[in-house]
Symmetry: C2
Subunit: 291 residues, 2 copies
Amino acid sequence: MHKIIDGKVVAEKVLAECGQEIESLKKAGVVPGLAVVLVGNDPASKVYVGSKVRKCSELGLYSRKIELPEDATQQEVLDVVLDLNADPQIHGILVQSPPPPQIDEDAIVRAINPAKDVDGFHPENVAKLALEDASGFVPCTPAGCMRLLKEAGVETSGAEAVVIGRSMIVGKPMALLLMSKDGNATVTVAHSRTKDLAAVCQRADIIVAAIGMPEFVTADMVKEGAVVIDVGINRVEDSSAKRGYRLVGDVAYDEVVSKCSAITPVPGGVGPMTIAMLISNTIKAARQSLA
Amino acid sequence: MHKIIDGKVVAEKVLAECGQEIESLKKAGVVPGLAVVLVGNDPASKVYVGSKVRKCSELGLYSRKIELPEDATQQEVLDVVLDLNADPQIHGILVQSPPPPQIDEDAIVRAINPAKDVDGFHPENVAKLALEDASGFVPCTPAGCMRLLKEAGVETSGAEAVVIGRSMIVGKPMALLLMSKDGNATVTVAHSRTKDLAAVCQRADIIVAAIGMPEFVTADMVKEGAVVIDVGINRVEDSSAKRGYRLVGDVAYDEVVSKCSAITPVPGGVGPMTIAMLISNTIKAARQSLA
């Protein structure tokens, strides 16, 4: 096992597999298609949407970017989603989060055809994850974390896993994946109300940090030889950096790295996996549309 | 706190609250109605269905028992469910589990109108539980366990809870309830693949045993002062008993009782809560049908 789990390398491997699947789908007459809906002018969202669309065209996927103005109405966004639901060229639909405040994001997610919900946030896909129904779409970030563990040769079965964070984007789906018949880990979900978080983390063979607090997990919280997956991407001020900030994870990497048996860096760990799993979900949607 | 958590007393309290709600619904022109569908001749199922229907009439709920023969087809059961979905007198539908082997139980559950799914097994209600959407129906047994904890004055927030078992009937929903913003517990889900189950249980302030193995949780697995909720109902041979067997839980009650601060007995603990929560869910369905 490599101590530093290189998310870029694993993401490339996933994308290479995707490339082969795209070829075979094209031979069957289907070009997998992803639609990305961007509402408003959030600069970070523009960057994310841009890189998703770029990755699609690199791989030969069909992709479509739909941009709506900052003052778009709920109905306008819904109409775009309903059009995409009905569009046979589109197999995956993603509405970039967060939308402007006048948009009810939950209602938009529920309007997406669950068979095209490649983000895995529609209630039908949430239920499929809990029910261990493999036809559903798993949210990209936890799916990416599971793949990183697998590629790093980490045995989850019987392991003590601690997931820090209980969001529906990462924490809960990650816990459900780890406790499933595939994962077979003994899973603890810790969060802001956990009393002795250090003690809880210390017993973990696998720590998944998804709390959005910079360098929150320190060396004293990590058992010797543990595997650490860092989902956090936080900006911290850094006057020595060109942009005035640097990116750090939820884990104090410099002090934890010497203690654990494997760790994901930030950036270059979980981050690159998210787009790869999105593409993988889109291909799955295209394949399932043939059935 | 009473050391022995008396499920009959708490269930009576829940049913008394239900009685008041039924009166107020009747004044609003609605008699809450529950339909129980029984397929086949399983003797235990007949007993369960009988006591559910009896409890309804005691409380002044409308109830309807639909019996189908052992050799009923999938379509016949589906047709009954679809009729009940459309019936304005019926607010809750329950298909008694397990049906005969020719019946696809998952497909039957998915056919129930989620707004009438008082068992809480429909994917839409599974998702609502994970998403902490209070409009959904929580499965009766874990809902009953949460109420028992509350009535016993057990503070779940910040507590270490260990749920033994990962089924969608009890283990997973119980874990989701305990880790929700209402529960705020630090939750570990343990199961057959957990390596050192005794050590995992020993750290628990609250143990919920739902594995279906008679007297599995022994005193050495329980921390001094822990709260123990026993979901198991297992028959063990007992030649001294009139029926040749006695009922025991998943917890070795006689040796655990002296160690814990509170415990549910079997029978008379979680068991009586299940029907009470079913009635409570039916009333909730009737109330929500007015909105």
